[in-house]
Symmetry: C2
Subunit: 219 residues, 2 copies
């Protein structure tokens, strides 16, 4: 079976999104630059249906991450925002199908953690969004059943990562630390409490734009 891993971009001060997520600001306010390191890379462009782009260290890291993943788990707000039953939040009108457009970059099954049932959404390029209402273990089991030997990515947001980390269900964390201070927003590591797993650093790769830190979760 593959790994269960987190692969996320974080500001030096620990944020993976800005405050006040809205339809206009999927990543919250002030966090637009957080992913600048990735946008022009060849692997990022390929995942988004484009050609060309920059190669080099950062691209190799991102390409490796993309290729290893067979299925993705994400929290509700990473899929599409809003609160309560789907379609009940006026700022996120039904049948709006999330942030990810017609051809999302996942190209495989995505399992969305939610308290509210919704029919599966099928997109172009092999991406499907399945809405899981019976908890993080159930979502992970469905993801693992779907991928065989490939890895399962817990994509975010912070709440989802924290739940999997506290439950001891993660094998690996890769954190792309960008030299930025956001000053506020959603933290990757928050509300974790005690009894956390030990970590072991397995790789550090640097570039001017971002430092790629990878850790193994010691079971």
């Amino acid at each position: 079976m593959g790994k269960v891993k987190v692969d996320v971009t974080m500001s030096l001060d620990g944020f993976i999104a800005g405050p006040n997520q809205s339809r206009e600001h999927p990543l919250g306010e002030g966090a637009q630059g957080l992913h600048d390191w990735a946008f022009e890379l060849a692997s990022f462009r390929e995942a988004h249906g484009e050609t060309g782009g920059e190669t080099g260290t950062d691209d190799e890291i991102l390409d490796e991450a993309f290729r290893a993943v067979g299925a993705t788990v994400m929290g509700r707000h990473m899929f599409g925002g809003g609160e309560g039953p789907w379609g009940s939040d006026a700022s996120f009108d039904d049948p709006w199908e999330g942030w990810w457009g017609d051809d999302p970059p996942y190209h495989g099954p995505v399992f969305v953690l939610t308290h509210h049932p919704r029919e599966k959404v099928t997109k172009e390029g092999g991406t499907t969004f399945t809405f899981v209402t019976d908890g993080i273990e159930a979502a992970l089991e469905q993801a693992q059943a779907a991928v065989g030997e490939k890895d399962v990515l817990v994509a975010g947001g912070g709440d989802a990562v924290q739940q999997y980390l506290k439950a001891g269900l993660l094998d690996e964390l890769q954190i792309h630390v960008v030299p930025q201070l956001l000053g506020g927003g959603a933290r990757l590591f928050d509300n974790l409490g005690a009894d956390l797993p030990e970590l072991e650093v397995t790789r550090v790769v640097e570039s001017p734009a971002v430092t790629h830190l990878r850790y193994r979760v010691v079971k």
Copy 2:
């Protein structure tokens, strides 16, 4: 004039101390292991009046940091804990002279940020503690006047670092990220708000025990 810099050990989840600082737990609870990477290094032992110890990458980084510093600024709780006028907190009895023992590792002038006046404390090995009640700029000016061309270290805690960062008074941040999750305590980066300086990564050095990240503050 030398640099004004921060050089601090941080857990992966952003903490530089645990919760509930007390006379028994100067670094708060659960944070004892945060500095394990440094204790056996030759440079650390030398600064603490001992000989021998490990050499190698981590030692070179720490030795460089020690040698560059001519004066240190720290917050009150990094000197000695307690609240209110000195000697008024029963758990930190006067004339207790802080965490640092008779021969502190600073070997130069230390300026302690406090709201409460106190006479200068002189220790062995060249360390003095001067208590500054008129703000962070005044403490920095005194430190710079004392050191000439050497660097001023803003040693901590988090509150002090945050104040200097927000005021635009720092030139460099070096953060030693240890592969640990504390889950709670005092964050290095907290309550920073907006309008923060830009950063540029200037060095990344790894070892199994710790990742040394260095940033220039872009003015």
